[in-house]
Amino acid sequence: MQWVDTIIQGILLGGLYALYATGLSLMFGIMKLVNLAHGDLIVLAAFVIVVLASLLPPGSGVVLALLLSLPIMFGVGYGLQVGFLNRTLDRDILPPLIVTFGFSIIIQNGLLEVFSADSRRLPLTGWESASLSVASGISIGTVPLVCFASAVVVIAGLNFLIYRTAIGRAFRATSDDPETAQLMGIDHRRLFAIAAGIAMMVCAVAALYLGLRANFDPTIGPARLLYAFEAVIVGGLGSLWGTLIGGMIIGVAQTVGAQINPEWQILTGHLAFLVILVVRPRGLFPKSEG
C-alpha cells in the first residue's frame, strides 16, 4: 500500500512539474527560445502572489491573488519579450541563452534583496489543508489533486488555443516560417510577446501550487527550470500532453527515490531523465514530423 501511495503522490507531483514545463515548452515551440530564467520567473510569480495575498483582506484566499497575478505576469512576459528577447532572435543560440541567464541572476538576487533568503509559504485558508482518504494508508491531499487537475485544464486549454483558434493558427504558422508569416500580416514580434505573456500566466498558475505545496525561497528557481526541462524532453518536444506524462515520470521517479532514501529524491528524478534520454533521445511522444 505504501508503494501505491508513493506512486500516486508522484503522479500528482508530476502535475506540478507539467505546469512548470508548459510555459517553457510553449516558448520553445513558438519562438524556438529556451528561457534559462524560466524557474526564476515561476518563483517571481510566487512572490507576486504572496504580496497580492497580503494586500487582500484576510480570508479572501490565494485563488483571488492568483487571478490578480495573471495580468501582472502576462505583462512581465510581454515586456521581457518586447524589450529584450525579441532582440535576440536569429540563428545564433548564444544571445538568448546569455540574456535569459542574466535575467535568472537578476531575478534571483532582486528577490533576495527585497524578500531576503527566508523561506515562505502561501497562506492557507482552509480547503488547502484538507485531504481525501481513498483507502487505508492512502490519502490524497486537496492541493496536489487540484494542482494535477489544473495542469490538465491548462494543457487542454492551451491545446484548444493552439489548434482551434485564429491566434493559435498564427502561432503555428510563425513557428513554421516567421518570414512567410509576416507576409500574412502577422507581426511576429507582437505575437511572440503574446506567447511569452501566456507562458508567464501558466508560470503564475504553477507558482500558486509551488507556494501551496511547500516552502519556497528566492534561490529555488534553477531547480524548477531543470524539472521543467526534464518533463519537456521526456515527453517529447512539441507535445503538451507528452509534457504532462513527462512530468508524471519525473514526479514518480522522485517520490520513489525519496521513499528509498529521502536524500535521493532529486537525484533519482535526474537519473530517470538521463536514462530516458539515452534510451529515447527524442522523448516518449515526439511529434511525427522532423
Binding site: L33, F84, T88, I93, V99, I105, I106, N109, L274
Partner: protein, 373 residues
C-alpha cells in the same frame, strides 16, 4: 600560365602578432619571478585571475569556437576538485600530482557525460549539461568519506605534503601558508600558459580550420569531410580536462570543499560566461580582457552582494544586446588589431605582376551585381 604569376602563401601571423608572442613570453617570465618581490595578497589575486582565465578560455573554446553552449562546466571543476581531495585524503597522493590526476579523471568522466548530453542540441544541450552537473553534485553529497553534504577540509599534513613547499619557504624566507600560495600560483601560471599556448596552437592548426568551418556552416563542413560530432566531443573532453585541473588547484588553494561550492553554477559557469561575454567571445584576447575587468569588479563591488550580482547580470545582457563581440571584439573591429590571430590570410609573396595578370584580375570581378564599398 606565365611564370610571372603572383605567388601566395597562407599565414595567420602578422607583424603585431609576432611582437605579441614575444611580449607574452617576457610577461610569463616576469610573472614566474614575481613571488620574489610581490605581497602574498597580490599572489592570491593573480592566482584567482589565472584560474578564472583558464576556465574562461575553455568555455570560450567550447561556446565561441565549437558552438557548444554549456551551463554545466561546474561539473568538471567539481569533479576535479573532489578528485584532488579524494586522492590526497584517501590515497595519500601528493597534491600537485593529484591535480594532474584531476584533469585525467575529469576528462574520463566527460566521456560518459558527453554520451548522454550530446543527444541534446543547441539550447537544450545547455540545460542538459546543467542537469549532469547537478547529478555529480548530488552523488558526491552522498560520499560520507569526503564529508557528504557539508564537505571537508584538507588536513595540515596533506597541505604540507605539497611538492616544493620547503624549498619555497627557504628560498623566499616565507612561512608555510605563504609558500603554499606561491606553489599553487606557479601551478596556476603553468596551467594558464599551457592553456593559452595550447589553444592558440590548436586554433592555428588544421583542427582550428575545421572548427571554424564548423562555426560557419555545419552542413558545409560535414560535406567536405569534417566530422562535426567527433570534433565537438574532442573539444568537450579537452575542456573538461582543463576545467578539472583548474578546479583541483582552486580547491587546493582554499583547502576546503563542499558539494555546493565545488559545483557552484554561479562561480564556475556564470562568472566564467560573464568574463568571456564582456571580453569578447570567439577570440583568445577577449577572455583575457574580461578576466581583468571581472577581477576589478569583484575586488571593488563584490561587497555589495546581491546588487553586485544584479549588475553583472545586467552588464552581460547589455553587452550581448548592444555589443555582442564584447570589449575586445569592438576594439579589434575598429583598429583591425589581432594579437593572437587564428584566421588564415592570403599573402602575396611575389609582387611582380605582368600586364596579363592585371588584365585577368580585372576580368574576374563578381559575376553579377557589384560589391558595395
Amino acid at each position: 600560365m606565365t611564370a610571372a604569376s603572383p605567388r601566395f602563401r597562407m599565414t595567420t601571423r602578422t607583424r603585431v602578432s609576432s611582437w605579441a608572442t614575444i611580449g607574452a613570453a617576457i610577461l610569463t617570465a616576469g610573472l614566474a619571478a614575481l613571488p620574489a618581490v610581490a605581497s602574498r595578497g597580490l599572489i592570491q589575486d593573480l592566482f584567482f585571475i589565472f584560474t578564472m582565465l583558464c576556465l574562461a578560455q575553455y568555455w570560450n573554446l567550447l561556446a565561441g569556437y565549437a558552438g557548444l553552449v554549456s551551463v554545466g562546466q561546474q561539473a568538471f571543476v567539481g569533479l576535479g576538485a573532489y578528485t584532488l581531495f579524494a586522492a590526497t585524503i584517501l590515497a595519500g597522493i601528493e597534491p600537485l600530482t593529484a591535480a594532474l590526476l584531476s584533469g585525467v579523471v575529469a576528462a574520463a568522466m566527460a566521456v560518459p557525460t558527453a554520451f548522454v548530453v550530446f543527444r541534446l542540441r543547441g539550447a537544450y544541450f545547455a540545460i542538459g549539461t546543467w542537469v549532469a552537473a547537478e547529478v555529480y553534485r548530488l552523488v558526491l553529497a552522498q560520499v560520507k568519506e569526503l564529508g557528504g553534504g557539508t564537505g571537508t577540509s584538507l588536513t595540515m599534513s596533506v597541505v604540507s605534503s605539497t611538492a616544493g613547499l620547503d624549498w619555497v619557504s627557504m628560498a623566499f624566507g616565507v612561512r608555510t601558508p605563504a609558500a603554499r600560495d606561491i606553489v599553487v600560483y606557479w601551478a596556476a601560471l603553468a596551467l594558464l600558459v599551457i592553456t593559452l599556448a595550447g589553444i592558440y596552437w590548436l586554433l592555428r592548426s588544421r583542427f582550428g580550420l575545421a572548427l571554424s568551418s564548423l562555426r560557419d556552416s555545419e552542413l558545409t563542413a560535414s560535406s567536405i569531410g569534417v566530422d562535426a560530432f567527433r570534433l565537438k566531443v574532442f573539444v568537450y573532453i579537452l575542456t573538461a580536462a582543463g576545467g578539472g585541473a583548474a578546479g583541483a588547484l582552486i580547491f587546493l588553494q582554499s583547502a576546503r570543499i563542499s558539494p555546493d561550492s565545488a559545483f557552484a553554477v554561479l562561480d564556475w559557469t556564470a562568472y566564467v560566461i560573464f568574463i568571456v561575454v564582456i571580453g569578447g567571445i570567439g577570440t583568445i584576447e577577449g577572455p583575457i580582457v574580461g578576466a581583468v575587468v571581472f577581477y576589478f569588479l569583484q575586488t571593488y563591488l563584490a561587497a555589495f552582494g546581491t546588487w553586485y550580482l544584479m549588475l553583472l547580470g545586467a552588464l552581460g545582457i547589455v553587452i550581448m544586446l548592444i555589443a555582442p563581440k564584447g570589449i575586445w571584439g569592438s576594439i579589434a573591429d575598429r583598429f583591425d588589431l589581432h594579437l593572437f590571430p587564428t584566421r588564415r590570410r592570403l599573402v602575396v609573396t611575389s609582387t611582380r605582376r605582368t600586364g596579363d595578370d592585371r588584365q585577368r584580375a580585372r576580368q574576374s570581378g563578381p559575376p553579377s551585381g557589384q560589391m558595395r564599398r
